[in-house]
C-alpha cells in the first residue's frame, strides 16, 4: 500500500510539475511539496568494479536488460573475457550478446597465463565526448554526474555513438534514438541501487555517493589505488576499477 501511494502521489506530483516551469527546479531539489525529498544537488555518484571478484555470470547484464527494457541484440552493460596468452597475444571475447547467456569454456584460451572477466558499461565521464558532440542538447549531465539521453530531443544522428571511446551507446532499433546506461537513474533517485549492482552475487559492482561522508565506495576511492579505462583520453570516467590489468582497454 505504501508503495502504491508513493507511486500515485509521485506520478501526480510529476504531472503537476511538468505544467509549471518553476516547478521543475523545485521538484529536482526535492523541496518536499511533491512528496519527493530527493535533491539532485546533494549527490555525486561514482561506480566501482572489482575485476578480481568477477566470475562472469553476467547476472548484471540480464538484470540490466530486464530493468531497462533493453532491446534484443543490444546491451547497456556487458562482460568481456580476457585470456592473456603471451605478450601481445591476448584473446578478448564477449560472446554472445555481451555475455548475456553466460560464458562457455574457450578452447583457445586454455593455455592462458592469466585470465579474467571485465564488466563494462557507460563510464559517465565528467568530460564526456558524447555530450560535447550532441548537436541538439539531447545528451546531458545531471547535477549528480549521470550522463543521460533525452529521447524526445535526440534526432538519432549517431554522433555520440561514434564519439564514445568505450562503445557504450547504441541506436535503439525501434525508437531510433541513442540509448545507453543511465546508472538506473529511476532507481538511484529513489535510494535504490542500480539493477546491475543489486544483481551482482559477488559484490563486484558497487555504487556510491561521493558527497556522503560515510559511503564505502567513497572510502575505497580515497584510500585504495584504483584505475579507470583509457585515462589517456582525459574523459574523467566515473566508473573506477580495482585490480585492472594493463591489457584491459
Amino acid at each position: 500500500m505504501i508503495r502504491r501511494d508513493f507511486v500515485t502521489k509521485g506520478l501526480g506530483g510529476v504531472l503537476t510539475i511538468l505544467i509549471s516551469r518553476s516547478g521543475i527546479a523545485q521538484a529536482l531539489t526535492g523541496d518536499g511539496k511533491t512528496g519527493d525529498t530527493y535533491d539532485w544537488e546533494q549527490h555525486d555518484y561514482a561506480y566501482l568494479i572489482d575485476i578480481a571478484k568477477c566470475i562472469g555470470c553476467a547476472m548484471c547484464v540480464r538484470a540490466c536488460k530486464r530493468e531497462n527494457n533493453v532491446p534484443d541484440n543490444f546491451v547497456r552493460t556487458w562482460i568481456e573475457r580476457y585470456h592473456v596468452l603471451d605478450f601481445n597475444n591476448t584473446i578478448v571475447d564477449s560472446s554472445p550478446n555481451g555475455g548475456l547467456e553466460g560464458f562457455k569454456p574457450l578452447a583457445e584460451g586454455s593455455g592462458a597465463n592469466k585470465a579474467f572477466f571485465v564488466p563494462k558499461m557507460c563510464n559517465h565521464c565528467n568530460k564526456s565526448p558524447c555530450e560535447q558532440v550532441c548537436p541538439v542538447g539531447a545528451a546531458y549531465h545531471t547535477k549528480e554526474g549521470v550522463v543521460l539521453v533525452d529521447p524526445k530531443r535526440c534526432i538519432g544522428c549517431g554522433y555520440c555513438i561514434q564519439a564514445c571511446p568505450f562503445g557504450c551507446r547504441f541506436l535503439h532499433p525501434t525508437e531510433h534514438v541513442a540509448s545507453k546506461c543511465t546508472w538506473c537513474y529511476h532507481r538511484i533517485t529513489k535510494g535504490l541501487k542500480p539493477a546491475c549492482v543489486l544483481a551482482c552475487p559477488r559484490g563486484v559492482r558497487q555504487f556510491g555517493d561521493l558527497k556522503d561522508p560515510n559511503d564505502p565506495v567513497r572510502k575505497i576511492l580515497l584510500e585504495t589505488p584504483v584505475s579507470v579505462l583509457r585515462p589517456d583520453l582525459l574523459t574523467e570516467p566515473q566508473c573506477f576499477y580495482l585490480h585492472m590489468d594493463k591489457e584491459v582497454r
Binding site: M1, R3, R4, G10, L11, V14, I17, L18, R21, I24, A27, L28, W40, K53, C54, I55, G56, C57, A58, M59, A63, R66, E67, N68, Y82, H83, E101, G102, F103, K104, P105, L106, G109, S110, A112, A115, F117, G137, A138, A139, Y140, H141, T142, K143, L148, D150, K152, R153, T182, Y185, H186, R187, T189, K190, L192, A195, L198, A199, P201, R202
Partner: protein, 175 residues
Amino acid sequence: MNDTKHIWRVFLLVLIAIAAFMVGRLLFVPKTFGQFGHYRAANVLEQRAFPVKYQGAESCEPCHADEFALWKNAGHKTIVCEDCHAPYDSHIKNDEKFADMEINRTADFCLRCHQKLTARPEKFPQVNAIEHLAEFKMELTDTVCFKCHGPHDPTPKDPIDKTVTPKTIKELKPK
C-alpha cells in the same frame, strides 16, 4: 529627406527578423530547455518516473518466508531472488500476484556461475560438469544439479537418485 525612409525600412526589417526569431524560438525550443544547461530539464523528471522492476529479496519475504529463511542462511545468500527467478514486476502488480514466477532449474543456468572457466577466480566453487557428475555416475541432463543441490541452500544433500548413497559421496569426495 528621402534617406530617412530607407533607414526606417531597414529598421523595420531588422525588427521583423528579431520578432520572427523570438516567435520561432518560443515555438521550437522546449519549455524547460536551458534551465540548468544545454538540455531539457523536464527530461530529468521523466527519467525518474521510469518504473522500477527489481525490488530486491526483501520484497519476496512476506509471501515466501520459508524459502527466504532457507536462502538467507545458506551459500547462495548473495544472489538475489530475482537473479534466478525474474523481476518482481513480472509476478506482482498492485500488490497482487498476476503471473507465475519464472523458475530456472536447468543445469545450464547453474553452470553460468559454476562451470569451470580459466577466467574465473580460482577460489570460487566451480566444476567441470561432466567430470563432476561422472564421480557420482550421473550424466549431464537438464535438471541434474537439483538431485543433490538445492537452489536456495546449495549444500549437497542426499541424492534423490537412490543408486548413489551418501556413503558413496563420502568415498568419492574425501574432504
